[in-house]
């Protein structure tokens, strides 16, 4: 109510102030529009995040001592970073993220270039390519688990029978399990990267490409000196999206290997979910989650810097 009363301009006031008042009112109106979203975000994202940061400094297990909390400072973080499983989880997560995103980008870029030219065949291909993206990662994991099973899987059985893999199969080998999971991720998400890059390619200004062509640039020169620099913002988008997603990998690992064999495929999220939702070790699980958030934030920042530098360099040329 007070907003309405103060905001009604008195007719005697000068017009300059009147318009300012109008702006104020507009601002308030816009704020009011945003308010539900702000409240929502605060309740479901910011508040839990702050809580999670708080919990991470406590020895807080819901199943012990009636859920009593003891302040332990940075102990949880130290333990994640020094504990064997914690270190493995961190390394596995980085290997998975870098491996998966690298190949998804290379293959996705290649696919996007192939599909750039608009034609019926390409449109049909595109539609088929999107099938993996539409399947839930959990289901993808179950499908590959079944395919790779050595007893009855269409792929796993023959690979083992022909001696290409060990008789126990790809997912049961300490050296092959993580690469297999990376492959599954590449299978599922390369089309998405291709689609994002394709959208970027289609939005490139045609006159510049024509000019490069008229100037006699070779295909490679056109790609490296014209297309790639112009495509950088889209590349950035694709890489950051996939990187954040890959770093949080959980479902496909959970249903295929459960983090095994041993802890060869335990990712930070698999480890965190186990600690938090299986053992209800909330303090420790919060520390794992915060480390994960921090890593993602740092990688996103690094990407932004790299891309900006590349962008500046490209503009200078």
């Amino acid at each position: 109510m007070s907003i309405a009363t103060t905001a009604i301009p008195s007719p005697r006031q000068p017009s300059r102030r009147k318009s300012l008042r109008f702006d104020d009112r507009r601002q308030l109106f816009l704020l009011a529009l945003a308010l539900p979203a702000v409240v929502y975000i605060a309740a479901v994202a910011i508040w839990p995040l702050v809580q999670g940061i708080g919990y991470s400094f406590f020895d807080y297990n819901l199943l012990r001592r009636g859920g009593a909390k003891t302040f332990v400072g940075l102990d949880n973080y130290v333990q994640v970073l020094t504990d064997g499983t914690g270190q493995r989880a961190l390394i596995n997560t980085f290997v998975f993220t870098i491996g998966a995103v690298f190949f998804e980008f290379i293959l996705g870029l290649g696919l996007a270039m192939l599909l750039w030219r608009d034609g019926r065949f390409n449109r049909i291909c595109l539609a088929f390519l999107l099938i993996p993206v539409t399947i839930t990662p959990l289901v993808v994991g179950l499908i590959f688990r079944a395919l790779l099973a050595v007893d009855y899987g269409y792929i796993g059985y023959y690979l083992a029978e022909w001696g290409i893999t060990s008789p126990r199969g790809l997912l049961a080998g300490t050296t092959t399990a993580l690469p297999t999971l990376i492959f599954i991720d590449i299978w599922e998400w390369t089309p998405l990267v291709a689609l994002i890059l394709l959208a970027g390619l289609k939005a490139l200004p045609g006159d510049i490409l024509e000019a490069a062509f008229a100037d006699g640039a070779t295909s490679w020169q056109r790609f490296r000196l014209v297309i790639l620099p112009l495509l950088l913002p889209t590349v950035f988008l694709a890489l950051v999206l996939r990187m954040m997603d890959a770093f949080r990998v959980f479902d496909s690992i959970f249903v295929t290997t459960g983090g095994g064999p041993g802890d060869a495929t335990t990712s930070l999220m698999v480890y965190g979910v186990k600690q938090g939702l299986q053992f209800f070790n909330i303090g420790y699980a919060s520390a794992i989650a915060n480390i994960s958030i921090l890593c993602i934030a740092l990688m996103a920042a690094a990407f932004t810097l790299l891309i900006r530098r590349a962008d500046v360099k490209a503009n200078e040329q």
Binding site: R64, V150, R168, P261
Partner: protein
Amino acid sequence: MIKTSALKLGVAAFALASAVATAGAADKPLAGTTLTIASQNDQFASVIAKLAPEFEEKTGATVKVDILDYGSLLTKTQADFVGHTKSYDLITMDIVWAGQYAENGYTVDLNDLMKRDAAELQIDDIYPATLKYIGQYNGKQVAFPFAGYAAVLAYRKDLLDAAGLKVPETAEDFVATALKLTDPSKKIYGFVANGQKGPAVAQDWLQYNAQLGGSVLDASGKPALNSDANIASLKVYKELFDKAAPPGAVDYDWGGREESFRQGLAAMMETWSVGAPGYYDPTMSKVVDTVGITYTPVAKGMEPKYGLGGWGMAINADIDKEKQEAAWTFIKWLTSPEVQKEMNMNGAGSYIRKSTLADPDLNKKYPFLPIIAKSFDNADGDYRPRIPQYPEIQDLLGTAVNAVLVGGVDPKTALDDAQAQAVKLF
């Protein structure tokens, strides 16, 4: 005017309703009550769901059975206890959760109710080991046993006969026989056990470990995961996986293991008695005529003791007194001799009563019941320590043993690592 008549009508309706309710209460004391059970997806689950209408007919209470896999059951019920959300009135409790339940007071202590209704329960007919291990902890009875399982050895008579071998009576014989019976070219393996990371491999190894003289706790109850006996038994377990188990076994859990035996892939398998009815079922088993069931072997010179596992029914301590009483009525019904027999005639494979295991009809259907009876008489339900830290210990072992089986990690290194982490839990 209208108001008054509406009021009169209301009063009349209320009177009528209470009259009906009283009439109903006489023969159906629990009419209007709904009991929700969180049940492990074992053989008994669908049987309980099938028999529940009989309980409703008798008492008026509706029973809803929520059938969950092991992981979901644990997570959902823990969340229910911790959040006091009262989603479940009754919970099937794995034998190894007793310590955690007792420490946190999640469920109703049944001691007083058992004393009050001792005659009705016919406690003397129930195996003391099932009462002791499935639910008793630090003087509390946190659950009432309704499905006791004995660890048994399932074997193939035809394969042993063909090789001229006897059914192994010691753990050493078992290993030697398993190695001899294995012939990968014919797809016959001497042995199969759970190798899958997590509870599956941990629980199976703990079983063999106990038979070979190992133990995960020392005499004072502190963790001793890397004791010499444990390291030695893990070496044996690895040897069996390397030389005598189907290659896929490193990823088997209970389901995969049972299936491989029913399909005739494995010659010998230690298992829970609850799986045994499946071997005699021609719709799912290829070994109906050739399977035998016997006692689990222990190392030479060791006192024979047989692994005991199974499930108790627990009452959520958060629900109100009246509902707790209704839940107790359900437990009494479920564990009564009549219902126990009916459950097992339906293939539940869940035994707690001497009279059920001695029942002629059941013995005709399942020839292996005397083995279970004798195993229950000499049962050990503590080889998987039922302490509050059990889930974490099981997880550490589940990772360590799996790493040894498939990762080429040395048994001592793996158990040393697990021990270092286990010590932090105490």
